[in-house]
């Protein structure tokens, strides 16, 4: 017979856990609303800047305009070294959120290994960094404390290094992996090939005229536009990832709360059964005692 006291203690413990998970869910819901708004607002800008850059890349490739920046637009058929920047959360307790990103990075690693392409990893977020460290996979650089409070400056810093290496020919490709926000209950894994800027294969521009740049004497305009493009892509990944993290955590905590409630119900049932059993036993003892005295 299970000990009544033990069951009581278990119920208490599960109830406490439920309080915690419920509070965490509420916190995540509040944070999610803010993060979601930020992500949705900047999505328009991110989409537009990608669109503009794709069109410029398309035109540059079409008219074979050379120059220092052409490396940014040319798809290299046999890349030798690839940079993967991945964004995970700094905190756990958010279901499969981090695992999904890590899995995708692992898949990419395996894929490039097969093609004999060297890969460098740049990790953002404690969870992903810790995972790869544990696996003894070397990380080129790691950024902690960014994913829970993304700022434009931090995004700039991360992207600046990656793009600088690309510019100097150290790497041939930069890929950005993050788990993005889709809606309140689901996340979407996003793999973004940042440089070289890729043109969708079916891309067909309805504009036929040659593109002019202004001011035209130098390349500052392309440079500044691209700088903005890289930084914004990184920044967008960070805030999108944050929104997704909160939605994942909210869901995970809701499930945990639900499980805890079920557990409490089951334990309460067991407790009542045990209590009744002990009362029955006591009664039998008393009655048989009385009987024997007769």
């Amino acid at each position: 017979m299970p000990n009544l006291k033990d069951i009581k203690r278990q119920i208490k413990s599960v109830e406490n856990t439920r309080k915690t998970t419920k509070a965490m869910k509420l916190v995540s819901t509040a944070k999610l609303n803010r993060a979601k708004l930020a992500a949705q607002q900047s999505r328009v800008y991110a989409d537009k800047i990608n669109e503009v850059l794709s069109e410029i890349a398309y035109k540059i490739n079409q008219y074979k305009i050379g120059g220092i920046e052409s490396r940014f637009f040319e798809e290299i058929s046999t890349p030798e070294k690839v940079d993967i920047v991945f964004v995970t959360a700094d905190k756990g307790l958010c279901g499969g959120f981090n695992i999904q990103t890590i899995k995708e990075v692992n898949r990419l690693l395996a894929e490039y290994k097969e093609k004999k392409i060297k890969v460098r990893l740049r990790g953002v977020g404690k969870k992903g960094v810790a995972f790869f460290k544990f696996q003894d996979i070397e990380l080129h650089s790691e950024y902690l404390g960014v994913s829970s409070a993304p700022t434009y400056e931090k995004a700039q810093e991360i992207m600046c290094e990656a793009v600088e290496d690309f510019k100097n020919g150290i790497t041939d490709k930069v890929i950005l992996v993050h788990n993005g926000y889709l809606n309140m209950i689901s996340q979407e894994l996003k793999v973004n090939h940042v440089v070289p800027i890729n043109v969708p294969s079916e891309y067909e521009s309805d504009s036929k005229s040659l593109m002019e740049l202004e001011p035209e004497e130098d390349e500052t305009i392309l440079e500044s536009l691209m700088k903005k493009y890289f930084e914004y892509n990184m920044y967008y990944s960070l805030i999108d990832s944050l929104a997704a993290e909160h939605s994942a955590r909210m869901q995970a905590m809701e499930n945990a709360t639900k499980n805890a409630t079920e557990r409490v119900d089951k334990l309460t049932l067991a407790y009542n059964k045990a209590r009744q059993e002990s009362i029955t036993t006591e009664l039998i003892e008393i009655i048989s005692g009385v009987e024997s005295m007769k």
Partner: protein, 130 residues
């Protein structure tokens, strides 16, 4: 009649998206106007005001601090760092948006001349609008 599809976006969201007759942009090399059928162009924009002529001949004004514009035959995309639409239903709303626009331009531009030009322009537009 031909129209241009104008879109103005900032990191805080979309400010403007509609078909317009023509638009005047504050390019870094000087102000330029865009009508439908304009040749493709990518230009740097400086702090200033975007003057939009709508389909029905009405004008709308948006102040920006810095950005890029991409122009082609039938569309204009403005990627601005910060933008404030000037206008509103009441006098008070217009005045406050004007104030915001001035602040935005002053915060970004480092040359006094540019600030003065832009502010003067905003004020003249505001007067014309009233």
């Amino acid at each position: 009649m031909d129209t241009l599809k104008l879109e103005i976006v900032t990191p805080e969201g979309q400010i403007f998206c509609d078909d317009v007759k023509d638009v005047t942009l504050p390019g870094s090399e000087g102000e330029f106007g865009v009508y439908p059928g304009h040749a493709s162009l990518v230009s740097l924009l400086q702090a200033g005001v975007i003057d939009i002529e709508l389909d029905d001949g009405k004008h709308e004004v948006v102040a920006i601090n810095w950005g890029h514009a991409k122009v082609d035959e039938n569309s204009v995309t403005v990627l601005a760092d910060g933008a404030v639409a000037i206008g509103g239903s009441s006098e008070g709303a217009i005045a406050s948006s004007l104030e915001n626009a001035k602040k935005l331009i002053e915060s970004m531009s480092d040359s006094d001349v540019a600030i003065a030009t832009a502010t003067a322009k905003i004020e003249s537009i505001a007067r014309a609008g009233r």
